[in-house]
Symmetry: C2
Subunit: 315 residues, 2 copies
DNA sequence: ATGAAAGCGCTAACAC
DNA sequence: GTGTTAGCGCTTTCAT
């Protein structure tokens, strides 16, 4: 355990004050070329690295940003998180990941313990369960991924899941399907009507004069949206023996699991059953047959923005 | 922007010294029940959250751990990172992700700037390019994911990729295949013989009296191991017109892309061509047909440890 | 059982 | 141009 090298050690070796060292490191104030050389040499010699904690305490800038997310196993979130991470690092920030399964106290700490210069929330529902944005003294910049109904006063990137699902179900209807299965979460959360996807599905059917039936709703718990779960639910569907010719899945992974279940029962895609995904992860185009899916921007929300599906709000 | 609430504010409101507040928060020293109540009430009233930077500066414990990884798009890494993240959070640590594409200076800072209590390295090759473990004053605990040849003095979780690839290629040989394509990186890095997988492939063939031919090596650059790349390379393979009956891919994602390419050319798996994966991500069992693959533990290295493939080293 | 005071390593007035 | 000094918010001896 080597003794910590401080600014003072450098200063002593270079025969200057610690302020001068600071000036050089932070590139402010005037320092003569001769002194700068000497200090730089001392820094190298001692292998000095400034202590970030001390600097943060003083400047009240931590250079850290935090991101609250659920999981990384879903390629959609993995891609989004990766994009944010790279962007953060490229801009000299450090990137910390939090789980969305935090309690009230943990959320409070995360916001107020002074560790972060900014906060990105990918799981608005879980966040709002614990934090009231109205009561939030806005001393830490936040940005939220918003796929819920209603509005928020936190700056956000808005995704219109309802319109997207509406669109993709319409696509199925246009292709002559009428018995369309919905595979995804059917929960409603906290008055925010979490299930925008379900709403889109219902709207689309209703507009076409079809009354949605519970027999066609296959519930997957929030955050359990994995291939395995899609597989299991479609197994159930087949056992139930209701007539169907299409499945609208809430994400690509579940669609892939669904395809597997169908094929095990000799049902061919798309000949016997049509199936649509959601998210457009890279894999969607790589399986056989390709998955019909709907794309969301994962890196550059605003530049690729789709008028109706996506909207960026900044206060 | 609310003014920062400090320990002193709490102390004043409760009519005690800041030392006492500290004692209560850190649960050491004796405090009378009556005072404790009063202080707790003041904390709640002011919505006080201790400043982590200040505490870290004093205690030299940051409660943060960092992980250096490449990307999250590959489900294998996503699962590993997720496991580490959850474990860290469950133990009261904060989890920060770094990219492996850092320069020497950035690596140095990461290790020495006092931000982290521990460091996990998932990309040993990139790390060792910039950091010499011999010269490392061991003042920050590190742990490394080790899939290279040779040894390291950093505590590590060792994966024997060579043995794993050997095993899976043997499986293909046992099933009567002899023209086996290798799909993966063929680069050799820094004397660490990065390509343990390729080595395993070669060993397996050689042991069976088959001399490996360059015609069967389809190179994928390190970290480009995506479905799309697998797809592209197998397209090339088909165009080349060399006879083959099996493909050993370096990971599951590339295998999936490869399957796609085959099917586009009317080649059926496994009837016409056998294909094997590597990593055993959840998806491997969900595509049709299922991918034959080899499993690596992604969360509990030691408990599920496989004698020959995996080894945990702790100094 | 509680408080006073020093100091973690750094930066930013303010002096010179 | 460069140095002196105060202080960020916290914990931890050391007194009392």
């Amino acid at each position: 355990m080597r003794k910590l090298v401080t600014k003072l050690d450098v200063a002593k070796l270079a025969g200057v004050s610690s302020t001068t060292v600071s000036r050089i490191l932070n590139d402010n104030g005037y320092v003569s070329e001769e002194v700068r050389k000497r200090v730089l040499k001392a820094i190298k010699e001692l292998d000095y690295v400034p202590n970030r904690m001390a600097r943060s305490l003083r400047t009240k800038k931590t250079g850290q940003i935090a991101c609250i997310t659920y999981g990384l196993k879903n390629a959609f979130y993995a891609e989004v998180v990766q994009g944010i991470k790279d962007e953060a690092l490229d801009n000299g920030y450090t990137f910390t990941i939090y789980s969305s399964k935090l309690d009230k106290q943990q959320y409070k700490q995360l916001i107020f313990d002074g560790s972060y210069d900014g906060l990105i929330i990918l799981t608005p529902l879980e966040f709002l369960e614990h934090v009231d944005p109205e009561k939030l003294p806005r001393n830490i910049p936040m940005s939220m991924y918003w796929d819920l109904a209603g509005k928020t006063n936190i700056p956000n990137v808005k995704i219109n899941l309802r319109a997207a699902m509406d669109k993709i179900v319409n696509h199925l209807l246009d292709n002559g399907h009428s018995n369309i299965v919905y595979l995804g979460s059917t929960e409603d959360g906290n008055g925010f009507h979490y299930n925008q996807r379900l709403k889109g599905y219902i709207k689309s059917l209703t507009n076409s004069g079809i009354s949605p039936s519970d027999d066609y709703l296959f519930h997957v718990p929030t955050w359990e949206d994995t291939p395995s779960y899609g597989y299991i639910k479609i197994k159930e569907l087949i056992k139930k023996n209701v007539p169907f010719t299409a499945i609208a899945a809430s994400n690509d992974l579940m669609a892939i699991g669904a395809m597997r279940a169908l094929s095990e029962h000799g049902l061919r895609v798309p000949n016997d059953v049509s199936i649509t995904g959601f998210d457009d992860i890279e894999l969607a185009g790589m399986i056989t047959p390709s998955l019909t899916t709907i794309s969301f921007p994962k890196k550059r929300y605003w530049s690729h923005s789709n008028e109706h599906i996506l909207e960026f709000t900044q206060k």
